[in-house]
């Protein structure tokens, strides 16, 4: 791989990882804000409203960081992956642009009202703006996952003889079966993040014996929501996601399993995969297998194996080999249906993909 490709990958990987810190938090926090506002309207306890103001400020600042780190992500599709954009833009940019049209305008309008309009409009409107903000952030997540789902599991397209990709079925792209498990798994992850942040701050205040009233609210809501979301993260969403990867992306699964096992065993001081008995030549460090030249013939032969899901040769298929180590992700090597080590070898290239998008965008 040439230097500019490596740097392009590093740059994009940094952009997308750094960006995701913020929307992951705000998507979860938006739900918690709605909960706080509903509790206030229901119980008429001023502490809930003050809590909503407090977290609203944190939401605003994280939201702005999300916006300003999100613009580079969109731009870098063009600046860093121009060939991919020209090739697949007609399809993946449909959902990207829909995110702008349907979610971003909604979010930005109601964030302004949520932050600046409480005195003018009163409580009902304030609650309404919180709900719209919540719907907006989640819709935004849904659209970006629709774009990513197409990159994981391309549908509704055709390729002309000159190698151009064209959209043929808009509804198939919008209702890609990949979206639902991906979206639910990502959203529950976001709710966990925000719930843990809220719990953490509440716990700190409790231990420091400051703002005791508020600390109790933060910990109570944070723990309850965090517990529900954590369970949901494992089952059914983690399980669905795991089955999906098993069925359509055996290579990714193999990489996940190997990386998880390597991480654990090397931590214990034992490296099992240097022995020739290991059947899957999967490399976690991206050594030999990451050469694009080595993969080309392999990719073609992989396609000729008529895999159940014909994957288009999109130049930058994203994968994230950073699973949270769920049972469904790491304990099912027997279900991987790895037909041959050749298949794994040839499709390995995709697991160390140029666009290291995390699987939830």
């Amino acid at each position: 791989m040439d230097t500019s490709t490596i740097f392009s990958r590093l740059q994009f990987a940094f952009t997308i990882s750094f960006h995701y810190l913020f929307p992951q938090f705000t998507m979860g926090l938006a739900l918690l804000l709605v909960i706080l506002k509903v509790l206030y309207v229901w119980r008429k306890d001023e502490r809930y409203n003050s809590s909503a103001h407090f977290w609203g400020k944190i939401f605003a600042i994280s939201f702005v960081f999300g916006v300003v780190t999100g613009i580079p992500m969109e731009f870098q599709f063009g600046t860093n992956w121009a060939r991919f954009s020209a090739y697949a833009g007609e399809i993946i940019a449909q959902t990207l642009a829909m995110e702008g049209a349907f979610a971003f305008f909604l979010e930005s309008a109601f964030l302004g009202i949520f932050l600046f309009g409480e005195q003018v409009f009163g409580q009902k409107m304030h609650l309404f703006s919180a709900i719209m903000l919540w719907l907006g952030t989640w819709a935004s997540g849904g659209f970006i996952i629709a774009s990513n789902a197409w990159m994981q599991h391309p549908v509704g397209y055709t390729m002309t003889p000159d190698g151009k990709l064209h959209l043929t079925n808009y509804w198939a792209v919008l209702f890609n079966p990949w979206i639902i498990p991906d979206f639910m798994h990502a959203i529950s992850g976001a709710v966990i993040t925000a719930a843990f942040v809220m719990t953490g701050l509440g716990a700190y205040y409790l231990l420091a014996k400051q703002h005791n009233d508020y600390a109790r609210i933060f910990v109570t809501i944070g723990v309850i929501v965090g517990l529900i979301a954590s369970a949901f993260q494992l089952f059914p969403t983690g399980d669905m996601e795991g089955s999906q990867v098993t069925a359509y992306q055996p290579t990714k699964l193999a990489a996940m399993v190997k990386c998880s096992i390597t991480a654990i065993t090397s931590w214990l001081g034992w490296v099992p995969f240097s022995s020739p008995s290991w059947p899957w030549p999967v490399s976690c460090s991206g050594g030999a297998g990451s050469s694009p030249r080595a993969g080309c013939t392999g990719f073609c032969s992989w396609r000729s194996l008529s895999h159940s899901s014909p994957i288009s040769p999109v130049g930058s298929r994203p994968n994230l080999v950073a699973s949270p180590g769920l049972p469904s992700d790491c304990c099912t090597p027997s279900t991987a249906h790895l037909r041959s080590s050749r298949q794994v070898m040839s499709s390995l290239r995709w697991s160390v993909s140029p666009v290291c998008t995390c699987c939830w965008g």
Partner: protein, 346 residues
């Protein structure tokens, strides 16, 4: 269908410049218009509820170009790699400075973010102007639609290997800065009262003189640099309606400024920007990104997506825009009138 999308993309970019233009302009003047911390906060409160919504027009326009003209998105974004990364840094610093300045009550902290806000806003205005000038002038596209431009080469817009910055693009950049300062200053005048209002009017007046001079210069230079302009205008004289709108807007800004009718002055400034951008779009049509070697230019025909994609896109786009316009009308009505001295950014 391609022509329709050319107009719609032009509409989105124009919305971006008209809306984000006033908060860029406000950022470029806030160090000079506001004399103390209280006045700076008033300026931030005037743009606070709306600026990130305004910036969404840029993201939405980017996404729309991406799926309607994928080749244009790919070619221009990779070719303009260097200036775009600079623009991204400026957008980031500018965005976070609005949010961070009042979070820590420390004069040094606030001054630092005020400086960042000023720098980001001013340079963005110049860079957006220069970007438009690069598109008008043309770029060294090769047959496969690829190019790369250095930040500067020989500063000559007629060269075979032009850079991002040459005397023409810098001229348009300065013109954009002057026009957006007028735009921002008239907006601030609408939104605030007292001495800040008077100073904003004064700044608008000064920047207006600069805008008039620079507009005349850039108009002459544009017709010299891009021959497509004269072809379109002489072939279809009805197109002169767009420069006429810009001219009426320019006169209106000055007239209403002296009559102290701030809102009318701001609306005239909007008309000026709409007229100028529409004039450029009319002059370039059907080119999207002219090449130095004319045969390699990207047009609305060779860069567009398939008819099917453009058609389904149009259906949801119309729906999305209706919703967006409802939100915007609602937000601006909500925050209508002069900003008070209490509220956000305390």
């Amino acid at each position: 269908m391609q022509t329709l999308w050319f107009i719609l993309v032009g509409f989105m970019l124009t919305m971006y410049v008209v809306l984000d233009g006033f908060d860029l302009g406000a950022g470029a003047i806030h160090l000079f218009a506001a004399k103390n911390d209280e006045e700076r906060r008033m300026i931030l409160r005037a743009i606070g509820p709306v600026w990130d919504g305004n910036e969404v027009w840029l993201i939405a326009a980017g996404g729309t170009i991406f799926f309607t003209f994928p080749l244009l998105y790919a070619s221009s974004f990779s070719g303009f790699y260097l200036p775009l990364i600079i623009v991204l840094w400026l957008l980031m610093f500018r965005g976070v400075s609005v949010e961070l300045r009042s979070r820590i009550a420390n004069p040094v902290w606030a001054s630092f973010w005020d400086g960042m806000f000023f720098l980001g806003s001013t340079l963005l205005a110049i860079f957006f102007g220069a970007a438009m000038a690069n598109v008008i002038r043309g770029v060294p596209l090769d047959k496969s639609g690829i190019f790369f431009e250095a930040l500067w080469t020989d500063f000559n817009p007629f060269s075979a290997n032009p850079g991002i910055l040459d005397w023409y693009t810098v001229l348009v950049g300065l013109m954009a800065l002057a026009a957006l300062i007028v735009h921002g200053a008239t907006y601030i005048a609408v939104k605030v009262e007292g001495p800040l209002n008077a100073r904003s009017r004064l700044i608008a007046r000064g920047a207006l003189v600069a805008t008039i001079v620079l507009t005349i210069l850039t108009t002459i230079a544009t017709f010299a640099v891009q021959p497509q302009m004269s072809t379109n205008y002489l072939g279809n004289p009805w197109g002169f309606i767009f420069p006429a709108i810009a001219l009426i807007g320019l006169i209106g800004v000055g007239y209403f400024n002296f009559r102290q009718r701030d809102l009318a002055s701001f609306i005239s400034s909007c008309a000026f920007i709409v007229g100028m951008l529409a004039s450029v779009a009319f002059g370039l049509y059907p080119l999207l990104l002219p090449a130095v070697n004319r045969a390699n230019s990207l047009t609305i025909y060779n860069a567009s997506a398939s008819q099917y994609a453009l058609t389904v896109g149009l259906i949801w786009w119309i729906l999305g825009m209706i919703l967006a316009i409802i939100y915007f009308t609602f937000t601006y009505r909500t925050f209508w009138g002069k900003v008070s001295s209490v509220g956000g950014y305390e």
